[in-house]
């Protein structure tokens, strides 16, 4: 009964979209990297760096959109480093990715401590506000459920469409997918696998950082340590769940956010009071593992994922 009540409330659906937004950005970012053949385990740290950089830029006096650009560029910078080490040098994508996560996370924390040495609780910024869409936002139920979001949430959905269009409808997307499936074929066309892959990792890392920035600039208004809390790793699971396709990954992110929003609300019901809250908090991680198990047989992994390409080799 309680579950039904929750599912029929508009605020639940609004929460689903809100929770899904950072996951959508970061999942699209990881998807771009992996379609080009590079596993980016820097995602967790890049999200932290993006969350910090965007928030700090706004706190320092920049507007919200320039702040978002700062986050994007921060992500791209870490992406450039990841790309340089894993693509032309062909270093282990696992090691470099985890190294980037450590580097990006600790850099953000260091910069936070340096810029705000005295504070005990982080200052707040004025975050993105819900956009009022004339007509749609005033609809009964649907207005609150679907059209009471900040601009960033709509941008997340637009991002999925853009990624899908670029991947499947443009020569660039074709080249990117080929770099992840059959890099020698890309070289045979006179294109540079190295350039395509580095570009993909930079673009993808930028999106990851924007996903992180959603947390500090839209969902909350402050930067906290550990606020990303494994969301990056969950996005890697979502890419697999989505079989490396933007649309399916979007559905995965929404399903996931749905379960997350549901568990938060179930905690407050009489039923939830009897169950330790940690059980609810485990749900997202358990679901991610279940999703991987369910999709394990069906997924079409990019053939050259995690395979470095060195032009000298044949």
């Amino acid at each position: 009964m309680e579950i039904l009540d929750i599912l029929l409330s508009a605020s639940f659906w609004a929460a689903v979209l809100r929770i899904a937004s950072p996951l959508i950005f970061a999942t699209m970012g990881e998807l771009i990297c992996e379609r080009a053949g590079v596993l980016n385990l820097g995602i967790e740290g890049i999200m932290v760096a993006g969350a910090f950089a965007g928030w700090m830029a706004v706190y320092a006096g920049l507007g919200l959109w320039p702040g978002l650009l700062v986050a994007l560029l921060t992500g791209m910078a870490f992406g450039a480093l990841h790309g340089l080490l894993t693509v032309p040098f062909g270093l282990s994508q696992h090691v470099v990715g985890l190294g980037i996560t450590l580097l990006a996370t600790s850099s953000a924390y260091y910069a936070y401590r340096l810029s705000l040495p005295e504070v005990t609780s982080p200052p707040r910024i004025e975050p993105f506000q819900p956009v009022h869409i004339p007509g749609l936002s005033d609809l009964p139920f649907f207005g609150e459920a679907l059209f009471s979001q900040t601009a960033l949430t709509y941008l997340a959905f637009a991002c999925v469409i853009a990624v899908a269009l670029i991947l499947y409808r443009t020569p660039l997307g074709l080249a990117l997918r080929a770099a992840g499936e059959n890099p020698s074929a890309v070289e045979a066309q006179g294109l540079s696998v190295t350039a395509i892959r580095i570009g993909a990792v930079m673009a993808g890392s930028g999106l990851m950082a924007v996903g992180g920035a959603f947390l500090t600039m839209s969902a909350f208004s402050s930067f906290f340590f550990e606020m990303v809390n494994g969301r990056g790793w969950i996005c890697i699971a979502l890419v697999v769940f989505g079989a490396w396709r933007p649309g399916k990954a979007l559905i995965g992110a929404l399903l996931f956010a749905g379960f997350d929003a549901l568990q938060i609300r179930l905690q407050q019901t009489p039923l939830g009071a009897d169950i330790p809250y940690q059980v609810f908090l485990m749900v997202p991680y358990v679901l991610s593992i279940l999703a991987l198990v369910l999709m394990s047989r069906r997924a079409e992994v990019p053939a050259a994922l995690m395979t470095p390409y060195n032009r000298g080799d044949r």
Binding site: L39, L41, L81, L85, P88, F89, G90, L91, S92, H94, V95, V96, L98, G99, I100, L102, L103, T105, S106, S107, Y109, Y110, R113, L114, P117, T194, N229, G230, W233, I234, I236, A237, V240, P276, Q278, V279, L281, M282, Y285, V286, S288, I289, L292, V293, S296, R297, N310, R311, G312
Partner: protein, 348 residues
């Protein structure tokens, strides 16, 4: 650009490049100290002094290195077989949990309790990694993600137990377990020195892993599977069984970090037992080039950086995260340097 193998790399190349990587790390750390408004030389001096400047500092470093040797070995063993175990943190906590359960619930006398706790811990850690290994082998589920996610699940499970059945009634409301009895604690390695037997155990573990790798069939098989699973299978090596054995070994080693922290140092289980020893173990293993004896050296180095930075930040106004950044820079520049000892960059 592309890479071309270097045949018979000169000694200068093989030693110079890694040293260059270390020098680069020092430069980055100096710049970071400068950014914090501190004198770089004084900062580095304070880190060095805090890590090894006194008997107390040195023992502190070795104590901190102990869990890192175990998690570093766990990662080194697994990565050698290309089993990407990023879940040493979860295995560590599983080991710590079983150590506390056996230590507090069974009422065993000390001499029996210590080996019983260690065995239970090893078993728990091994089982935690067995799950992802079986999922990988049976269903092709990527173990990077499953082991990572298990870290979060395990911490929540521990948190739940510490606020529920395992909560210390005398703990003033803090989420911590009751302490294991005095006689079930690991004794000091040398009487009078604040260094427990966990460190000795870690050294024994490192030598054992090294002997397994160079002297046993399993060690040979693990290497073969890591280098080329298809070729190993063709050569008649039971690849799946080798990976399962590797997982059990790796998980057990990581769990010993939890055992040694509880039984040697802390005495009970709390949620901050490990400040990421499992993750740092990856760095330790990579800096050691996955060599078990190298793990000991690199664990002491990494522990020194953290202990030194901690003590430095009390004296100078430089945040301790300088240690994390330096370790990350050391890792990335070192893997690049090692690559460049074997390959040279050519244009075109």
């Amino acid at each position: 650009m592309r890479l071309e193998p270097v045949r018979n790399a000169s000694l200068a190349r093989r030693l110079g490049l890694p040293l260059l990587a270390l020098a680069f790390t020092v430069v980055v750390a100096s710049v970071l100290a400068r950014l914090a408004g501190a004198d770089p030389f004084a900062t580095l001096g304070l880190i060095l002094k805090g890590a090894a400047g006194s008997k107390f500092a040195l023992l502190e470093t070795l104590n901190r290195a102990t869990p890192l040797i175990f998690t570093g070995l766990a990662v080194a063993v697994a990565f050698r077989a290309k089993l990407w175990n990023i879940g040493a943190e979860a295995q560590l906590y599983a080991g710590a949990l079983l150590t506390v359960l056996v230590g507090t619930q069974l009422g065993l006398p000390g001499p029996v309790a210590i080996p019983a706790m260690a065995l239970a811990a090893i078993l728990a850690g091994a089982l935690v990694l067995l799950g992802p290994a079986v999922l990988k082998l049976r269903l092709g589920v990527d173990e990077v993600v499953t082991t990572l996610l298990l870290n979060f699940i395990m911490l929540l499970l521990i948190s739940m137990l510490l606020e529920g059945p395992l909560k210390d009634p005398m703990g003033m409301g803090w989420p911590k377990s009751p302490p294991i009895p005095r006689d079930a604690r690991l004794p000091r390695l040398i009487e009078g020195l604040r260094l427990h037997w966990g460190f000795g155990l870690a050294l024994i573990a490192a030598v054992s892993v090294w002997l397994i790798q160079i002297r046993t069939t399993l060690g040979y098989e693990i290497r073969a599977v890591g280098l080329n699973p298809q070729a190993a299978r063709f050569a008649g090596i039971p690849v799946n069984r080798v990976i399962v054995k590797t997982a059990l070994l790796s998980g057990g080693l990581a769990a010993l970090a939890g055992f040694s922290e509880v039984a040697g140092l802390k005495g009970n289980l709390t949620l901050d037992l490990s400040p990421g020893f499992g993750y740092t173990g990856i760095v330790v293993a990579m800096l050691a080039l996955l060599h078990p004896l190298g793990v000991v050296a690199s664990a002491i180095f990494v522990a020194g950086v953290f202990v030194g930075a901690n003590s430095m930040s009390r004296a100078a106004d430089v945040p301790t995260y300088i240690a994390d950044i330096s370790v990350a820079v050391a890792l990335l520049s070192m893997v690049l340097a090692i690559l460049l000892t074997k390959f040279r960059v050519v244009r075109g």
